[in-house]
Symmetry: C2
Subunit: 205 residues, 2 copies
């Protein structure tokens, strides 16, 4: 298809497509004449992935480039490739100096070991959870993560990961992971606040 | 106690305390001499609440003022008072024109009715969830909210709302609601991404 059709079918404006081509986010089409290139389904799939990372994942272009590089690096196994998108979606947390941080981080590491979860030793989620534990402790919020661990495990294993096409094209798997992870996260946030309102009404009225 | 002790015990700097007094976020102390005011536990509790709204809830000062006004309006029942904090914590979502939005919003209203949840007809969480459903539909993400509804209900009823001291001082109840809601939300986010990594490893290795 020509770039005009690629634009129409993807919903991405032609100047934006040209920008992605220049930045290397989108692979070049097949040059069939001096002023005409031909695009195919792989370009459509890539544009869908870029939109998912940009509009739903809210990732900056630099982070999108890293994810795309991982998708394009066929020597990188699927699990590590998904990890680049996955880690990019989370907040960046800097470890803090001091004993509170050390204790919280050790607690997170112990929790992961007790659960038998396969989490990379340097996964940023470890520091992210440690930071939340430090804040909880500082502010006197009681900490019992077990019900949250169980809910996360159930939702991820029984629902979310079943939606990711692990055996399909790499672009499509990353896209499904990003869309599912972010959008179900948003839906859950809203539902949780609704449940709080309803339970508050039930207890107080 | 004097303002210096209030500062030391609350961890809030004196100029900041004076700013809160000027803005009406913190009630005046008892003037016991021309240049000396006396503060008590109610001031400490209020400063804890302001910090929770500011540092954990990330609310702008204008929103904090609204929450504080509701806390101070003793004619406002506890449930409505908690609602001001609760609604302020969520994102602001503008309804979109078009049939997709209407359909999604109707679906949300039906879901709430089916669940028997007590949610205000104009609660912003209704539009928030509708927006996520519209995005899911546009992007072809399959929608099955039931497991998320069940998880939210269980966590809120069996854990979170048990931590809110509904019968204590109004400041303390709002503080507990904000801290619990935001910090457990963050912890759950991290745990969910950890579970995704672990489950991806399990399926792909």
């Amino acid at each position: 298809m020509r770039v005009s059709e690629l634009s129409a079918r993807s919903g991405v404006a032609i100047p934006t497509i040209k920008y992605y081509l220049r930045e290397g986010l989108l692979h070049q089409g097949e040059q069939i004449a001096a002023t005409r290139a031909e695009y195919d389904e792989t370009h459509l799939r890539r544009l869908r992935l870029i939109r998912a990372l940009l509009e739903v994942g809210k990732l900056p272009v630099a982070a999108i480039k890293q994810v795309i590089a991982a998708v394009d690096d066929e020597t990188l196994p699927m699990h590590e490739m998904l990890g680049t998108a996955h880690y990019a979606l989370g907040p960046t947390v800097e470890p803090e100096p001091g004993e509170d941080w050390q204790a919280a981080r050790a607690e997170v590491d112990r929790l992961i070991e007790d659960l038998g979860w396969a989490i990379h030793p340097e996964a940023p989620t470890r520091d992210e959870l440690a930071q939340t534990l430090v804040r909880m402790r500082q502010l006197g919020v009681p900490i019992d993560l077990r019900p949250y661990v169980e809910a996360a495990q159930r939702l991820v294993c029984e629902v979310e990961m079943n939606k990711v096409p692990f055996n399909g094209p790499r672009d499509a798997a990353v896209e499904a992971l990003v869309l599912g992870s972010v959008l179900y996260g948003k839906a859950f946030d809203a539902l949780r606040r609704m449940a709080q309102e309803s339970e508050s009404a039930r207890r107080l009225r």
